[in-house]
């Protein structure tokens, strides 16, 4: 059974659902409230587009910690009925229903019970740690099927059904039948793992659409060999789900590989970050041990026990993608929620005395297949991680990426934008084609530029001074050279000086290029004349504005 809370990041901000609100990550909308959806905003919009649809929309930055902490309430409710819950991500949880269904009188009865209970809990005024007492309103979908992926699809379907929320129960063995009428993009859940790139998945569905295969049923009717030949392992996992077989790990390692990593915390830790620190060490031991044996695990069971004997266990989906820091973060979320809800409900007391990490569903590690053509490769991810570290050292503004903006003057054409505002992976995908041909001698001229009248002619100077340096341009008689209103130099420049340096003789010069910008605007009006000057100190671009010469750029 899968419990799916729709738009959980938006719900976790504890704002009322009718209020238009979007959660953004790297300037793109990833989640939105009901109120925002009514205005026509959708996922993938930029902030600007969202504000164009609804100017009063509230923009909130993505924060996984907040989502996870809020989700603990829902998990606490679910755990009243079920012993062990697996968290796929904040907003999604799954558990096997074999035992609990029998206890509560059938799958459907359990689902109805859970639905009512979660909606009641969310409707109660439950105090969240920092935001004070408030309510969580969310739309909850429950789906039951043979395997976790089919159940996820069923849970999402139950939300889309009109009318009162009803859990969808798929009978045993009828998964293929249930899925056959759905559009083919629902199979994306089967392919989502650390081993494939979003680009390859989107491409596969695009090809299938254009071939006329729009529903899962038609996809399942294709011959297996053809699907495997065309799409490879990606197509295979989607095909398996379409025909009703789950992609559970098939080659489980032998039971003697059961290892667990335990640490006793003495004296018992009252604060969550102390436990998180221990968790990082344990997680690194876990990774080292598993990779040393050539194994990988798809889930991690985190067990924490207080000195009063209360114990909490939670399964976290791993898929080989979580680093030691990620596991420590999940331990922190688990304990945060547990300690805050538990203390208020009187369920736990004291400090955490024992922490144990148990890898679950251990399989032989087949390694990660990096994308061949385009897609994010290793270098980009390493670079992003290093830039995160530098950001932590120096602050968010210290790391910038040059972005093409287009403009007339040199400092406008490329601007340095802080890395938080740039979606590096999207950039990498869109420019991936141009780089696969290897180093060439062609000049990589910036693409798609409009004709900016008054632009400096190519080649562009390699050094653009952001703080202009005063310069002096003198003619043979010792007077400063000017440019008339008709764009004519008043004299031949003979020597020049940059800043307070020494005088240089001018060997060649060219110009002037005059531009007058925004003549109608009293404030933005600029009249400039540019001259290229070659002297023994190099070639420079000098600008005359308001009677004063400045060094704008150097052709270094």
């Amino acid at each position: 059974m899968v419990v799916f809370c729709a738009d959980w990041p938006a719900v976790a901000t504890t704002q009322p659902a009718e209020k238009p609100l979007v959660v953004v990550q790297a300037n793109r909308v990833t989640s939105l409230s009901q109120g925002a959806r009514k205005h026509g905003i959708a996922r993938g919009f930029t902030v600007r587009e969202a504000q164009a649809h609804c100017p009063a929309v509230q923009v909130v930055e993505y924060n996984q910690q907040r989502d996870a902490r809020a989700f603990e309430f829902v998990l606490a409710t679910v755990e009243q009925f079920v012993p062990r819950v697996e968290v796929i991500e904040p907003g999604h949880c799954a558990f096997p229903t074999l035992g609990p269904s029998g206890y509560h009188g059938g799958d459907r009865a359990l689902a109805q019970l859970l639905l009512a209970q979660i909606q009641a809990t969310a409707g109660q005024a439950v105090g969240l740690p920092q935001e004070g007492s408030t309510t969580l309103e969310c739309v909850v979908g429950i789906g039951i099927a043979d395997g976790p992926q089919a159940a996820q699809i069923a849970a999402k379907e139950s939300i889309l059904c009109p009318g009162v929320l009803q859990p969808i129960v798929v009978q045993t063995g009828k998964t293929a039948e249930f899925l056959s009428a759905l559009p083919i993009e629902r199979l994306a859940v089967a392919t989502r793992s650390a081993h494939s790139s979003g680009l390859a998945i989107a491409e596969m569905f695009d090809v299938l659409r254009r071939l006329g295969i729009r529903t899962v049923g038609r996809f399942a009717a294709l011959p297996l060999a053809d699907v495997s030949a065309r799409f490879g392992s990606l197509g295979m996992s989607a095909y398996r789900l379409a025909t009703g077989y789950e992609t559970t790990p098939l080659n489980l390692a032998d039971p003697s590989a059961n290892v667990s990593f335990e640490a006793a915390i003495d004296p018992p830790a009252e604060r969550v970050d102390q436990v998180a620190f221990v968790a990082v060490e344990l997680a690194e031991q876990l990774h080292a041990e598993l990779s040393g044996r050539g194994l990988a695990c798809s889930r991690v069971l985190v067990v924490a026990e207080t000195d009063a004997g209360d114990c909490i266990e939670r399964l976290w989906r791993h898929e080989g993608a979580l680093s030691a820091a990620d596991i420590a973060r999940r331990v922190r979320w688990q304990l945060d929620g547990w300690l805050s809800t538990g203390r208020s409900l009187g369920r736990c007391s004291g400090g955490v005395q024992r922490l144990e990490l148990i890898p679950d569903q251990v399989i032989a590690d087949t390694g990660m297949q990096l994308g061949f053509w385009g897609g994010t490769n290793n270098a980009t991810e390493r670079a992003i991680q290093a830039l995160d570290r530098v950001q932590a050292l120096l602050g968010a503004d210290a790391v910038k990426l040059p972005q093409f903006r287009g403009g007339r003057s040199l400092c406008e054409q490329y601007q340095l934008v802080a890395i938080n505002a740039v979606d590096v992976f999207a950039q990498e995908r869109s420019s991936g084609g141009s780089s696969s041909s290897g180093p060439t001698t062609e000049a990589g001229s910036s693409s798609g530029t409009g004709p900016w009248a008054g632009r400096i002619p190519l080649p562009s100077p390699t050094v653009v001074w952001s703080e202009l340096v005063q310069a002096e341009l003198f003619d043979a008689a010792g007077h400063s050279v000017g440019v008339s209103g008709r764009g004519v130099m008043s004299a031949v420049p003979v020597r020049c000086r940059m800043g307070t340096g020494e005088w240089h003789q001018i060997e060649h010069w060219a110009g002037p290029w005059c531009t007058e910008q925004r003549w109608w605007d009293a404030i933005g009006h600029r009249r400039r004349a540019r001259v290229q000057v070659v002297c023994d100190a190099g070639a420079h671009l000098l600008t005359l504005e308001a009677g004063q010469w400045w060094v704008e750029a150097t052709y270094d």
Partner: protein, 253 residues
């Protein structure tokens, strides 16, 4: 005596050489080198930037352009480059010379954290460009060199004299593996008040430590008439000298 003769005979030597070929450890040379633009492939041994090497680009004028042209090859092939202390870079020129600008990151750091930041960058980036704004102490320089060698990153230091308008540059305290010095740079296309800067012919003096590079002089068009980098002995005989004046001149006085 007979034994000494047999070990020196040409047949025996040839056999030993063949055995050496078979037993030499295989190191994929392409992995050890970052690719370069075609014009630079003759300048560096093996046709690429050796990973873990320190490259120093300096000279009278044109050092920045040479450094950008060197970085163009690796960024086009997928490596990332980081720039520290190069706040005044002209990115339009970088894009024209072939640098894949979406794979470049610019870091602005105060002088006291420069060694730590550069060390963190050398760990993960393939190319790190250091500008003349900061200069490390000799100990820091040695530590960075060792780290770059260990991680296989290329550390490129730019110190041009023209950049010394604002403040005088100080060169890297240690000797680099490859030293590129722009000895002569000549612009074509401008005359007295007419034309515009079109192409530049530079003469690079290539030197360096150990046998990593032989001392030689290379002539390049950087940029040439189309904006790219090319070798100067290619057919570029047409150098536009007499251009029609585009602006009238008025005598003063």
């Amino acid at each position: 005596m007979g034994v000494a003769d047999s070990t020196r005979s040409p047949a025996a030597v040839a056999e030993l050489r063949k055995a050496l070929e078979h037993t030499r450890p295989v190191v994929l040379a392409e992995q050890q080198r970052l690719p370069l633009l075609k014009a630079f492939q003759d300048v560096f041994p093996g046709g690429g930037l050796q990973r873990g090497s320190i490259v120093h680009v300096g000279g009278a004028a044109g050092a920045t352009a040479v450094a950008l042209a060197l970085v163009a090859g690796p960024t086009q092939a997928g490596s990332w480059a980081a720039c520290v202390g190069l706040d005044h870079m002209g990115w339009a020129a970088a894009a024209e010379l072939g640098v894949h600008v979406p794979r470049v990151a610019v870091i602005q750091t105060p002088a006291q954290s420069w060694p730590n930041v550069t060390a963190a960058l050398v760990d993960s980036f393939d190319v790190v460009l250091c500008g003349p704004q900061h200069t490390p102490s000799p100990q820091d320089a040695r530590r960075l060199t060792a780290r770059a060698r260990e991680r296989g990153a290329v550390l490129m230091i730019i110190s041009g004299e023209t950049l010394g308008i604002a403040q005088p540059p100080r060169p890297w305290p240690a000797m680099a593996d490859v030293e590129l010095c722009v000895v002569q740079a000549e612009w074509f296309g401008v005359a007295q008040g007419s034309g515009r800067l079109r192409q530049r012919r530079i003469t690079l003096q290539v030197g360096g430590r150990r046998s990593l590079s032989r001392s030689q002089r290379v002539e390049l068009w950087l940029p040439d008439i189309s904006g790219a980098v090319a070798k100067a002995d290619a057919v570029q005989a047409v150098i536009p000298t007499a251009l029609t004046p585009t602006a009238l001149l008025m005598e003063a006085g």
